[in-house]
Amino acid sequence: MIRPRQRAATARWRLRLWILLLLAPGLAVMTLFVAAPLLSSFRYAFYRFDGLLPAAFIGLANFRDVLAEAPYAATTWHALAHNCIVFAALMVAQNGLAYLIAFALLKALPGHRLHQVIVFLPVVLSAVIVGFLWKLFFHPLFGLVNAALALVGLHGLPWLGDERTALGAIIFTNAWHWVGFPALIFLAGMQRISRETLEAARIDGANDRILMTRIIWPLVAPSATVVVILTFIGSFNWFELPYVMAGATGSPGGATDVLGLYFYRTAFGTAASGLTDFGHGSALAVLMFLFIAVVSALALRVLRRREIEA
């Protein structure tokens, strides 16, 4: 015989067990494959590795090496500089263009829905497909790009083979691949602006340029925040496109080397040398993680304040 109080207690236990059951698989996966690895990566950065095993605690030596000692440091800073170029170039070329496209789409001219679908199409393709496609197009002799230039009487270049143009060519490819994404984020922001605001500005005599720079731009600040932060994170994690188009070493001659490639090479080696160096790799990963986290957090604060002012 079970008394009522006992029955209530059993029911409570059963409910607790039920909740635990619901949470268990998710929590297990998150603990094993997010929390634990993340904590370990901070620990591993302080070790010298022997193959896959942390062999000796060496304090900050790995960090000192990758930031200030030859031969690591030169590559680190060289790669970081390229990441900065990539970020700046994408902000101007990709996101600037995206803003213009969004503004044009906001006018809801005939075919604007179809255009949204078209501009977003490359976004759904894998960076591997896009990278290889443009690598073939940029081929100096047989590529589409130089063939098109020849049609208008221009001499083409070995775009991916020339140190001066290789990074630019990959940045261009990235912009082509991704421009639809910021465009539609901006468009979503613009569509939230009330019609009255835009009409009022028009009646006050604002032309498109003023509308775009003075009226809409401050009002889409939340969209701009998202675009800036995502472009920043993407630029400093840049890996697939340069890997596919320029190889793990950032050819030619390191002209397209970025932190993502350098980290990958350090940790897992290249086809030429299969040497793994998990100690220095972890230090690079931790530094990249901290850099991205700190800058994003600061940028977010500044950008959010801008949103409120607007």
Binding site: W18, I19, L22, L23, P25, G26, V29, M30, F33, V34, P37, L38, S41, L52, A104, K107, L109, P110, H112, H115, V117, I118, V119, F120, L121, P122, V123, V124, L125, S126, A127, V128, I129, F132, L136, F137, F142, L144, A147, W176, G180, F181, L184, I185, A188, P222, V226, L230, N237, F239, E240, Y243, V244, F263, A267, G281, S282, A285, M288, I292
Partner: protein
Amino acid sequence: MHHGERGKNLLIQPLLILNAVIMLYPLFVMVLSAFKTNAEIFASPFALPDSLSLVNAARMWNETSFVRYLLNSIAVTATSIAAIVVFGTMAAYAIARYQFRLSAAVFLFFLSGLMVPLKLAIIPLFIQLDTLGLIDTRLGLILIYVAMGLPSSVFILTGFLRTLPGELEESARIEGASELRTMLSVMLPLARPAMVIAAIQNALPIWNDFFFPLVFISSDRLKTLPQGLTVFMGEYNTDWGVLFAGLTLAALPITLVYVVLSRQFIAGLTQGAIK
């Protein structure tokens, strides 16, 4: 609309069309070139192919492991998405519909995964998978994708499940339905739209992922499509027609899905960013 407006729109429309051409023409050339011989590609890159010959596609299909890569990608993506939606819904349901002491902490624990670029934890993940004997297995890859997808799906589903009215559960309970029954037959059918968004948002990055297979998968028979592409881009590097056929075939499945579900894709992916 004002008169000056209309004149300006006449200017904007051609620019939009030009932009559409820039976005589509490279893909158009990719498809055309898939039907061409090497000689045709080099001699007349812009022209239409002489014939709609499927020789290149057939070589891709028969001589390479393309089909295997494709099936691997389908299996890995489908399993990962199923696990993400099921585990994500379970966790979200517990967080959204029950009150327990650590509820807020558990929710935050899941959300913190949104901030973590898992790629940068690749070294400890490698060691972790190695310890578990999961390097070079589909399961290892799937588990990582599930970890990658859970935070956003828990976020989306918790938000949605919280909005469901409590009376529904109450009446089911009064009728004597068990917690499991209430969840499965009363509450979850209502959450289907949120599950679809969570699934689409995660399916694309998993389907397109190249980095994790690059690090974890080395057996040819386990490779996914993006990773497999790098294999035959190396093998056929002088046979451009076959290369274009490979790229076209690789782009085809996701493009078809996108054309059918473009609205859901665009909404799912841009909302994921805006949140």
